[in-house]
């Protein structure tokens, strides 16, 4: 059954040779298939991903993306519109709407009545950034963040808009930001995936695993969900009756048999399989250890508002820091329930309370640990919300519909200028009037911070070189430190 047993020694010799020669045949062959320009570029190599060199010196090594699913209202959180309060209950002027598309949820409404934010805005920090009273903690870190008030996007409904933010395209099928980063930059941690996802928030808009999927990139680049309850990673725990010791014994058996097979067949795929089992074994210890926040100091837990054993956005923020410490490339938190079509004042208060403290704590904590310099943190949703009310405006309540034409997000850390407020919207918070930033521009900027010229991170699929920024995207220089 093992006809080539006598060849085994030769194979092993060859493998030993390859192990020593990182500049050997493998590297040559790799180079010939890579984007020629990247290969020729002079920035320092030493990456583990598909990119053989970076275009710029990277400011950020990793990304923590706090994705606010459902789309928080920019008008009530980030973009003060004093005049809008006076205009409450008046029709949105056609000169402002300019015939732009609105959703089927308000297109049948007889009137589009403006509604100002019921919340006060205050100046925060040295930079004097104005934020809503709902974000007192974010107010404390404004000097470390750049607030973009002039974001805009194309889709007007959740699924296409989240897909667009995640992949640069409205229709499903393409790789997500994290997958691109994993593919391009690889992993710097031998025990953890390069792209990790944490979910929080009950109810709200549904999520799709494709929001962190790999699209047409190989599946090993897809985001791996780490969970706050049950197995933190699917099947990472040994079953009942099999403890760590037995698992190691069984694994040793698997590995010994696999090695015999490698010798017999000479197929290097088997070597990869063997290594994947070792990594799985390491994950069995490293993941539970990573997810256990109970040993964090009391101060730290209080800073975030995290409670061990009670899954929450706060816990996830703390976990994000722990993942950043472990050099995970792309950490994406998804927090649901920002879709406030009705009863906005109450609902947004709830969500702000659930997220403000921990988001700010993450920045503070990263900073005090010296991690903020090379970690890019992003906070925001898939679009903004309308200046007009969906449904009736009462003293205490109103709703806001989807609004892609302008909204706010903030960025912080590696490569980003702190204390900056970029862009302006009109008095209604309806259109961008200055420094507009398209989603593709945002992606280009994010990649820039990671040292990547966005047009260079490509993948050939069905005859075309695809990229995260599709066929557009400009780096927003004003945001860069």
């Amino acid at each position: 059954m093992i006809p080539f047993r006598d060849e085994q020694a030769k194979i092993m010799n060859r493998r030993t040779f390859l192990a020593r020669s990182t500049t050997g045949l493998g590297a040559v062959a790799l180079g010939s298939l890579l984007n020629q320009k990247l290969f020729a570029a002079t920035a320092k190599p030493s990456l583990h991903g598909s990119l053989k060199a970076l275009d710029f010196a990277p400011k950020a090594k990793r990304v923590i993306y706090l994705f606010m699913s459902g789309a928080p209202s920019h008008i009530d959180l980030f973009d003060p519109k004093a005049r809008l309060k006076e205009l409450t209950n008046t029709e949105l002027p056609t000169s402002i709407r300019m015939g732009q598309r609105i959703t089927g949820m308000t297109s049948g409404q007889k009137q589009l009545l403006c509604v100002g934010s019921p919340f006060e805005f205050h100046k925060f920090g040295k930079c004097g950034m104005e934020l809503s009273e709902l974000l007192p903690n974010t107010g404390k870190i404004v000097d470390n963040i750049a607030l973009i008030r002039s974001m805009f996007t194309e889709p007007i409904n959740h699924d296409p808009a989240v897909t667009f933010f995640a992949t640069g395209n409205q229709q499903p099928g393409r790789p997500t930001m994290g997958a691109w980063c994993s593919y391009g930059l690889g992993s710097e941690n031998q025990n953890l995936p390069a792209f990790i996802v944490l979910l929080s928030g009950a109810g709200g808009q549904p999520l799709q695993t494709r929001y962190w999927g790999s699209g047409f990139l190989p599946g090993n680049h897809q985001g791996v969900q780490f969970r706050g309850s049950g197995d933190p990673v699917l099947y990472v725990s040994n079953p009942g009756g099999i403890d760590g010791k037995i698992r190691r014994q069984l694994l040793d058996g698997v590995q010994q048999l696999n090695k015999i097979q490698l010798g017999a067949m000479g197929d290097p795929e088997i070597a990869t399989r063997i290594e994947s089992y070792e990594m799985a074994y390491r994950m069995q210890t490293s993941v539970p250890e990573l997810m256990d926040i109970s040993k964090e100091s009391k101060e730290t837990l209080e800073l975030y508002g995290a409670e061990p054993g009670k899954p929450s956005f706060a816990n996830n923020c703390l976990l994000a820091r722990r993942l950043a410490e472990r050099n995970v490339r792309f950490i994406q938190l998804v927090h649901r329930d920002w879709d406030h079509h009705s009863n906005l004042p109450e609902e947004i208060k709830k969500q702000a309370k659930l997220t403000d403290q921990a988001s700010a704590a993450l920045i503070t904590d990263l900073k005090q640990r010296g991690l903020l310099d090379d970690t890019l943190v992003i906070w925001g949703g898939e679009f903004g919300r309308t200046t007009y009310s969906q449904g009736e405006i009462t003293k205490t309540s109103f709703g806001r519909d989807h609004h892609p034409r302008c909204f706010s997000i903030w960025m912080s850390g590696g490569g980003i200028k702190g204390g900056l407020t970029l862009g302006k919207t009109d008095d209604f918070g309806y259109n961008v009037v200055e420094d507009q930033v398209h989603v593709h521009d945002f992606h280009a900027t994010m990649l820039h911070c990671l040292g990547i010229e966005h047009t260079h991170l490509t993948y050939r699929f069905e005859g075309r070189d695809y990229r995260l920024t599709d066929v557009a995207g400009k780096v927003v220089d004003k945001l860069l430190a």
């Binding site: 059954m1 006809p3 060849e7 194979i11 493998r15 390859l18 192990a19 045949l25 062959a29 010939s32 298939l33 583990h48 991903g49 598909s50 959703t103 089927g104 409904n157 296409p160 499903p172 099928g173 593919y183 930059l185 690889g186 031998q190 390069a194 979910l199 549904p206 999520l207 494709r210 990139l217 599946g219 090993n220 680049h221 049950g230 990673v233 699917l234 099947y235 079953p239 009756g241 014994q249 069984l250 694994l251 058996g253 048999l257 696999n258 490698l262 000479g266 197929d267 290097p268 795929e269 990869t272 399989r273 063997i274 290594e275 089992y277 990594m279 799985a280 989807h402 069905e462 005859g463």
Partner: protein, 1211 residues
């Protein structure tokens, strides 16, 4: 994504460590396998060597996209590439390098001049420049793109090692190997071959018996017999379906936003059966693309047409339906082009294709074929998006037929009774109709309106014809009040909505569009003031109460609703409930006192007569525990379904008594506990009361705005008349029929309120007139069902036969009880049929709209931006569409499988090759265009394509025979080679493109699962059926789902046999695919997937080690081993090993297992709890009487075996 990603052979182990996650996905070394000719070789081949250079570097500006073309020059067409340029120069002059400007432009040192321009990031290598030079020097021979030329069989190439060749495939493979100086590997041993074949052709491992039988069969035909057996097994169809389902993007949910359930598994069943019956691929194609359009399409063919309904369907709130109906059609184009043309036609959705000769217009011409489906843009909320058909099993169909027949029989009996000659009934009906019709038409007295008022400020003015015209302010809503004087007994009120020149577009309404919505009508009757006070009426005479009951009911609702007697008919002589209940007189009951009844969950009828000397209204005060219903003279005047304790005066009701005897029937029901009622009639005649209406009829009602809606007191609903349509701006009338004729002997004033309070602004009648009728026949009309009322209102001469029959049926059924009896029987069968139908699975299908939808080119692909109108057609660079019939999907499907088509056969055989060998002869199996890769064995590909398309006389195979093609491939010596990788082969041909060794690669996700279930003895071999839900960690769906009332939002695990079905049948939820399959690279099926990536990740190890499905399989394997594997440990180890891998273990392998078995036995002996814990996993029963420690140790061995690389590898 063609390449195999994670495990790259030439990478040292230390680097591999990092790759399992996020590592580089890189192609190694096509440099090692020169698929293209390189410098130094003599003949340059245009398609192989030159076109790829043009495509990659030049087409973006000098290619098919006319909007991006620079300098009028294009390199995708010979005539234009060789044409004289504006400058008078030529880009290419055959055999003349100096005059060929192309060479100058690609070699100049001037960066501004050099092509391709620096800013494109493209760059020609010295080697490519050399190829271009040599091509021109050799005469610049030009060929059409290879894949668009019709394939021809080339002569067999010359080869040396003729003995090795088993069939034509081998000749082509060997020729290339010999050219490269390589020789084939030896044939794999028989155990390897049966395992390889079993997985490839059935997706399942061979059983030990099968292995032994094959080893024992030493005849020369043993191998072929095995192949034939596997191809004939029903598992073959399942294995092939797995391959097809990715292409067809089959899933059990609608995808997109909320991602709820759809029924498509009947289509999946069709696919399995089609493969098992070896349906020729041309028919397979035609039925899936256009089965619905085949003449006399069978149910199966319609189901097959669901192929292109497998696309996702959205229904996100607020989304635009047009946006998504466009997406569905685009998906059909992408999928169809990918599956049959191996082409990226989808790239031309927004602009002309950059590399291939598709124009954007051609994209939309192709799109037009699929744009005639009567589907909806946002239709994903229910099962199923339309069009969808029921797909009954044959048993269901038989029952269905039986019921349908029975219904038809009964119906014809009814018809017979209706058509029966019966002069008495005919004459009676004629008179009855005439009376009613006359009343409706003629018996009206126009009343003079007084006290006109508008609630919201309109001006009301009486006109000469007694109509009322509104003018002045047009409020959003309004209520008109009008007073009328009347004498005698009033049966009905007529409202005419009249047009007027002063109103919008001469309509009857005040709104901008000419329509109105009458949301309510309320009439109060008041005694007209007279000079003298009216004399006290003669007192009414009440008979004593009679009681019938209690009737025992099943539940609260039936106590109220069930008709225990023929309500409202009272037959005082009749006995009920098996003669246990009769009407009994209750002479001692006193009005104005609470009277107790008996019974718990029950209903009781109470009856008395009321006699008056003159017609008069009477006020009744009622109380009840619990519900109460009241009929006066057979008319229901009160219905109150409540649960309460009795009290006086809980209901106050004014009834209109006729002169003489009136019949009053009460039904009081009890929902438990106390049971009582209360009754009192006031002596005084009420002076003012609200008139109850029985029904309303109109000469015209808008859909969903029927006249009856004006009576329901709900401002959201009302009567409208489509007045926004010009031809509908005519006079209309509505009749409101009182429950009882009403009115005061001394005269009545009617206070009429006409309400216009709907959400439709200003939808108010602008001119109206009121009239009254005293015709008693109108009261009768009020009792007639609405559909009959409407008939009588229509002109008899315009009445259809169906309507006539309805009227006859209504009339005759009062005199011919059999009609009612038959109707009851029909209703029961209809209900049974409905129940049956509800349980029959659905399947989405294609269907053509009667009037084809217009198709337009969508500028930049935007659904809001329509360009020129286009009609269905195929791209010009392919053979023309030939159709005698209409240019529709059927013509398209036939075109795809026509003999002249260059792509379908090539693309399909290449996919089969990819399935068996891991990589296609064309590696980019979804792109046969300019950007696709040159075939590793072009002549072989074409030969296979011809064999598939034409069939073969030599092997007596028909055209389009899939089993023949697979057999051909697996019979080859090429396929039968050992997969052992030698260092020399690894270096020369790391990806095995030259095929100097056999295929070896990790199995597809489904196969990994099926193998574990099969070797453990758990596998359920049922074919087809609904999808199943195996073990899955809790909370996964819920964490991402929208929830609410939508389907497939929470995971409900299957039990029993359903847990052990093949991966093919696992429920495929697009937003969260089954994790254990997904981890092994199964796609989410949102879009067509032509090639799955094949990764190796630690998450896969975690699944195999810890997923309960695999642990249960390990236990199953252990149980088998103990039961069947002999008594000695070594025997059992060998047995377990052979069950899993078919082969015998080597000594060193056995030693490892032996050692671990002993170790585990010791572990589990010292920790019996651990053994029990491990063995608890999985719902399959555990045989009694086994030693738990021993079983646990064997389960551990099973876990090891199921985790081996070899176990999940087809080699």
């Amino acid at each position: 994504m063609a390449h195999r990603i994670a495990a790259k052979p030439l990478k040292p182990v230390l680097i591999l460590l990092r790759k399992a996650f996020g590592g580089p996905a890189l192609l190694l070394a096509t440099a090692v396998v020169p698929l293209a000719s390189r410098a130094g070789q003599s003949d340059v081949d245009f398609n192989r060597d030159i076109r790829p250079i043009f495509s990659e570097n030049c087409y973006a500006c000098h290619g098919p996209d006319q909007n991006k073309r620079k300098g009028g020059l294009r390199f995708d067409r010979k005539d234009e590439a060789f044409a004289e340029l504006k400058s008078g120069n030529f880009a290419i002059v055959p055999k003349d390098l100096t005059r060929s400007k192309l060479i100058e432009r690609i070699t100049t040192k001037d960066e501004d001049e050099r092509m391709p321009p620096l800013k494109t990031g493209k760059h020609l290598t010295a080697e490519q420049i050399d190829l271009l030079r040599r091509w021109i020097s050799q005469g610049a021979q030009w060929k059409g793109h290879w894949a668009y030329l019709k394939p021809e069989r080339s002569p067999l190439p010359p080869i040396k090692n003729k003995r090795w060749v088993r069939n034509t495939i081998d000749a082509f493979i060997l020729a290339r190997l010999e050219k490269q100086g390589l020789s084939p590997s030896r044939e794999a041993d028989k155990v390897t071959l049966i395992r390889r074949l079993s997985f490839d052709l059935t997706g399942l491992p061979p059983t030990l018996t099968e292995v032994e039988a094959f080893l024992a069969d030493r005849s020369p035909s043993a191998y072929e017999a095995l192949v034939d057996r596997l191809l004939a097994s029903s598992a073959y169809g399942e294995r092939m379906a797995e391959f097809w389902l990715d292409l067809a993007r089959y899933a059990d949910t609608n995808g997109y936003h909320i991602d709820n359930h759809r029924d498509m598994w009947k289509w999946r069943e069709w696919v399995i059966n089609a493969f098992n019956h070896n349906l020729p691929f041309d028919e397979f194609t035609i039925e899936q693309l256009a089965g619905d359009l085949l003449p006399n399409a069978t149910l199966d063919q319609k189901v097959a047409s669901g192929f292109n309904r497998n696309c996702m369907v959205n229904f996100e709130g607020g989304a635009d339906p047009d946006e998504y109906s466009t997406k569905y059609v685009v998906d059909r184009v992408d999928t169809t082009a990918n599956v049959w043309l191996g082409s990226t036609l989808g790239c031309a959705e927004c602009h002309d294709h950059k590399y291939d000769p598709f124009t954007q217009k051609e994209f939309y011409q192709f799109y037009a074929f699929f744009n005639n489906i009567p589907e909806k843009g946002l239709d994903g909320s229910k099962v199923n998006p339309v069009p969808s058909i029921k797909v009954p099993s044959s048993a269901d169909q038989a029952r269905r037929d039986e019921l349908t027949r029975a219904i038809a029989d009964l119906d014809s009996k009814v018809t017979a009774r209706l058509e029966e000659k019966n002069p008495t009934l005919e004459a009676g009906q004629a008179e009855w109709e005439q009376t009613l019709t006359r009343a409706v038409r003629n018996d009206w007295l126009v009343a003079e309106p007084a006290d006109l008022a508008s609630a919201n400020g309109a001006t009301l003015q009486k006109l000469d014809d007694q109509s009322v015209l509104a003018s002045g302010k047009v409020p959003d809503t309004d209520v008109y009040t009008v007073s009328l004087k009347a004498a005698g007994e009033i049966a009905a009120l007529r409202l005419e909505a009249l047009t007027h020149d002063s109103l919008t577009a001469k309509s009857a309404a005040r709104s901008d569009n000419g329509n109105f919505v009458l949301s309510g009508v309320e009439v109060e009757a008041e005694r007209a003031p007279t000079a003298q006070p009216e004399a006290d009426p003669e007192p009414a005479v009440f008979s004593p109460w009679r009681m019938l009951g209690p009737f025992v009911a099943q539940d609260n609702s039936s106590s109220f609703n069930r008709r225990f007697i023929e309500e409202p008919k009272v037959e005082l002589d009749k006995s009920y409930a098996d003669d246990t209940l009769r009407w009994t007189e209750k002479a001692d009951w006193k009005d104005g006192e609470i009277i107790k009844l008996t019974g718990d969950l029950a209903a009781t009828y109470l009856f008395r007569t009321v006699t008056v000397a003159a017609p008069r209204p009477m006020t009744l005060l009622l109380g009840s525990d619990d519900g109460i219903q009241v009929w006066l003279n057979g008319q229901k005047v009160l219905s109150s379904e409540v649960s309460r304790s009795v009290a006086a005066d809980q209901e106050r009701l004014v009834v209109q008594l006729k002169k003489g005897e009136n019949k009053l029937l009460l039904k009081v029901n009890n929902t438990g506990g106390e049971y009582a009622f209360y009754f009192k009639a006031l002596k005084e005649i009420p002076t003012k009361y609200v008139v109850p209406f029985a029904s309303a009829v109109a000469d015209y009602s808008q859909k969903d705005f029927n006249i009856s809606a004006a009576l329901d007191n709900n401002p959201k609903t009302g009567w409208a008349v489509d007045g926004y349509i010009e031809t509908n701006r005519v006079d209309r009338q509505a009749i409101f029929i009182a429950r009882q004729p009403f009115g005061f002997a001394s005269g009545t004033i009617l206070h009429v309120k006409l309400k216009f309070e709907s959400d439709f602004k200003q939808h108010i009648i602008g001119r109206f007139r009121l009239a009254l009728s005293t015709a008693a026949s109108l009261t009768e009309l009020g009792e007639v069902p609405a559909n009959i009322q409407a008939v009588l209102f229509e002109a008899p001469e315009k009445r259809t036969a169906k309507r006539k029959a309805e009227v006859t049926k209504y009339y005759r059924s009062r005199f011919v009880p059999e009609i009612l009896e038959l109707d009851k029987q029909v209703a029961a069968r209809r209900e049974a049929l409905q129940k049956l139908d509800d349980a029959i699975p659905q399947s989405m299908v294609m269907e053509e709209m009667a009037t084809p939808r217009d198709t337009f080119l969508l500028i930049r692909g935007s659904f809001q931006n329509k360009g020129e109108k286009v009609t269905p057609d195929v791209p010009k660079w392919l053979p023309p569409l030939q159709s005698n019939g209409p240019t529709n999907r059927l013509a398209l499907a036939r075109w795809l499988v026509s003999a002249d088509h260059p792509l379908t056969s090539r693309v399909t055989v290449n996919r089969l090759w990819q399935m068996l060998f891991g990589t296609g002869l064309v590696k980019t199996s979804n792109d046969f265009g300019s950007q696709g890769e040159w075939p590793s064995h072009p002549e072989l590909l074409d030969w296979l394509a011809c064999e598939f398309r034409d069939g073969s006389t030599e092997s007596r195979a028909a055209a389009w025979d899939l089993k023949h093609m697979l057999k051909l491939m697996v019979m080859s010596a090429t396929y039968r080679q050992s997969a052992v990788v030698t260092p020399r082969l690894l270096e020369r041909d790391p990806y095995n493109r030259l095929l100097a060794r056999g295929p070896r690669f990790r199995m597809d996700a489904e196969m990994v699962r099926d193998n574990a279930l099969a070797v453990s003895g758990l596998l359920n071999r049922k074919i087809g059926g609904e999808s199943v839900r195996p073990y899955q960690p809790p909370g996964l769906w819920e964490a991402v789902a929208f929830g609410g009332e939508f389907s497939s939002q929470t995971y409900v695990q299957s039990h029993g046999d359903d847990l052990y079905r093949r991966g093919l049948y696992v429920y495929w939820k697009r937003s969260l695919p089954y994790p254990s399959l997904n981890t092994f690279d199964a796609p989410n099926r949102e879009i067509c997937t032509a090639q799955r990536p094949r990764t190796t990740t630690p998450l896969q190890a975690l699944v195999l080690m810890n997923d309960p499905a695999f642990l249960e399989a390990a236990r199953g394997l252990a149980q088998r081993v103990i039961k069947e594997g002999g008594s000695r440990t070594d025997q059992r180890l060998i047995y377990a090993f052979r069950l899993t891998l078919a082969r015998e273990p080597q000594k060193d392998e056995l030693k490892v297992l032996q050692r671990i078995y002993n170790q585990q036995l010791e572990n589990f002996r010292s920790d019996k709890n651990a053994a029990a814990e491990l063995l608890k996993i999985g719902e399959s029963p555990r045989p009694e009487g086994l030693d738990l420690s021993e079983l646990a140790a064997w389960t551990a061995i099973g876990n090891i075996l199921l985790n081996l690389d070899e176990t999940i590898t087809k080699g």
